[in-house]
């Protein structure tokens, strides 16, 4: 086996492994194909979610986040997450601890009780950050086998991959980031501009758990704007946004059926699913073709429409 160019500790979080395992599969496979070794983080927990558990008790959020980061530190690499929420937590906790020595000392006193130590010597990274900043567009381009010239994509960034911008690696850019669009466009697909593109999906901050109708109303607005712009599919980089745009789309069709006209049926695809299929990988394995007869599982909006558009390019 060839030498790996990069090594990461894969921080799974909750929604990726437990609700959208095809995203986990696609991240593992795409990173392997790109020459990045993915290490498991044994015994990692919920990050804990930045808008939910941090909102209940900041000290709990911080110490559990530090414990998770310490597992990656033991492996001697950066924790890598595919989730904006986990990224928000790991990155904010890392930033806060590195800027507050007293807090760091206190967290380590707590961690000592379970025989752990947080050092802070590895920067938590997002999957998209690793693709864009560690590997770079030119490197990714060399691995693209199929070009999807007819595909119109509505790119959804989500919030915590770019904000708070002082704790993110994008040089303060938060109003109009382009990095995810650029990754999408190396597959030949066109990123379509739509109204309020950078708006939140509505799920975060414990809103989905509090009042599903409110979360779905954010989603409705996004879906209306995407449909008006004529997008074929949605590409995102966060499993919670993914869930909200996929399962939430069903909820929008239900809660707001009187005001949306036609029900929405826009396929929702994670960035490494798109990259993987463009790199010539098996769409079955990437979760782009249904290969089981399980009921009540993701995806909730069929993705056949995506394959219909790109099938001539991948045969």
């Amino acid at each position: 086996m060839s030498e790996y160019k990069w090594r990461y500790a894969f921080f799974l979080g909750c929604v990726i492994p437990n609700r959208y395992p095809m995203i986990e599969r696609s991240i593992r496979d795409v990173f392997e194909e790109l020459g990045a070794e993915i290490l498991d983080m044994p015994g990692a927990s919920c990050c804990p979610a930045p808008g939910v558990f941090r909102a209940f008790h900041i000290p709990t959020w911080l110490v559990i986040a530090a414990r998770n980061i310490s597992i990656a530190e033991e492996l001697g690499v950066s924790p890598l997450t595919g989730c904006n929420g986990c990224y928000g937590t790991l990155r904010d906790a890392w930033y806060d601890l590195e800027h507050n020595p007293e807090e760091k000392k206190h967290v380590n006193e707590l961690l000592a009780k379970v025989g752990r130590q947080y050092k802070g010597n590895f920067e938590p990274k997002h999957v998209v950050q690793a693709l864009y900043l560690d590997m770079g567009l030119d490197y990714l381009k060399d691995h693209i086998k199929h070009k999807f010239d007819d595909l119109k994509v509505g790119v959804h960034y989500g919030c915590h991959i770019v904000k708070p911008s002082d704790k993110r690696p994008w040089h303060g850019e938060y109003e109009n980031p382009q990095f995810l669009d650029e990754i999408v466009e190396i597959t030949g697909a066109k990123s379509i501009d739509y109204k309020d593109k950078y708006m939140c999906c509505g799920a975060g901050g414990a809103v989905r758990t509090a009042v599903k109708e409110v979360a779905a109303d954010f989603t409705r607005e996004k879906l209306v704007n995407m449909r008006d712009a004529g997008v074929d599919i949605i590409i995102n980089c966060c499993p919670f946004c993914h869930l909200q745009l996929d399962l939430g789309q069903v909820e929008v069709n239900n809660f707001y059926k009187d005001i949306i006209g036609e029900p929405f049926k826009i396929p929702v695809i994670y960035i490494t699913q798109l990259l993987g299929v463009a790199m010539g990988m098996d769409p079955n394995r990437l979760g782009l073709i249904k290969n089981h007869d399980l009921k009540g599982v993701s995806p909730f909006i069929p993705i056949d429409r995506f394959l219909d558009i790109v099938k001539e390019q991948i045969i």
């Binding site: 909750c14 110490v63 758990t209």
Partner: protein, 208 residues
């Protein structure tokens, strides 16, 4: 500057910062709340405020002036933590972090929604995951879905390491999370009982 003006400014600042909530902000290093000029950029940037009664400016104002009604209002739980208010605040106040801190104070006072309490206590504290897949019956299909993608039925997280769940619980006990939740449950139950008592008395009064 005349003495009167100086006195006036001092008095306002002192009064504004002597409330329980604002003191908690200062203790948490969030004294920047004092810089708020109530301009409304936060509310204007808020996607939640466009569809709910949540008004960021108003919540921050109430926190600053010590209006504790802000704690029991469901409105502060409508913030999706999108961070636009934090980014756009012309006074550089970390607004979203303030709202998160405000929620912490609300939970301390026992103001937590049932759905959030269940999520914190029965799911996160119990399993170590916020969205678990280990219930023998209810999550069967999710484990099967994992297997259909060539993954083990349970991920290599706390789900595969029971001692890791215990470790998280030890940390959560040590840092006071369990006690916080138990106390919130007590305060909630007490308030509920009081509300029921008042309602009952009211009905009896009406019967007479």
């Amino acid at each position: 500057m005349s003495d009167n003006v100086e006195k006036y400014i001092k008095r306002k600042v002192h009064k504004g910062m002597s409330t329980k909530i604002s003191q908690k902000f200062i203790d948490a290093g969030l004294e920047k709340i004092r810089a708020c000029i109530n301009c409304g950029t936060c509310t204007g940037s808020c996607p939640s405020g466009r569809r709910t009664a949540y008004r960021t400016r108003s919540a921050i104002r109430k926190a600053l002036t010590g209006d504790e009604s802000v704690l029991e209002d469901i409105d502060i739980w409508m913030c999706s933590t999108c961070y636009y208010c934090y980014e756009r605040c012309p006074r550089d106040i970390p607004v979203t972090d303030m709202i998160i801190k405000l929620r912490n104070i609300a939970v301390e006072e026992g103001f937590i929604l049932d759905s959030h309490f269940t999520l914190a206590s029965d799911i996160f504290y119990a399993t170590g995951h916020g969205v678990p897949a280990n219930d023998p019956e209810a999550h069967k299909q999710w484990r099967a879905l994992r297997e259909s993608y060539g993954l083990p039925p349970l991920p290599p997280t706390v789900h595969s390491y029971p001692e890791a769940v215990k470790e998280c619980q030890t940390l959560m006990n040590e840092v006071g999370f369990r006690a916080l939740l138990d106390n919130a449950a007590k305060l909630k139950a007490k308030r509920k009982a009081e509300a029921e008592k008042i309602a009952k008395e009211k009905t009896e009064e009406e019967k007479k």
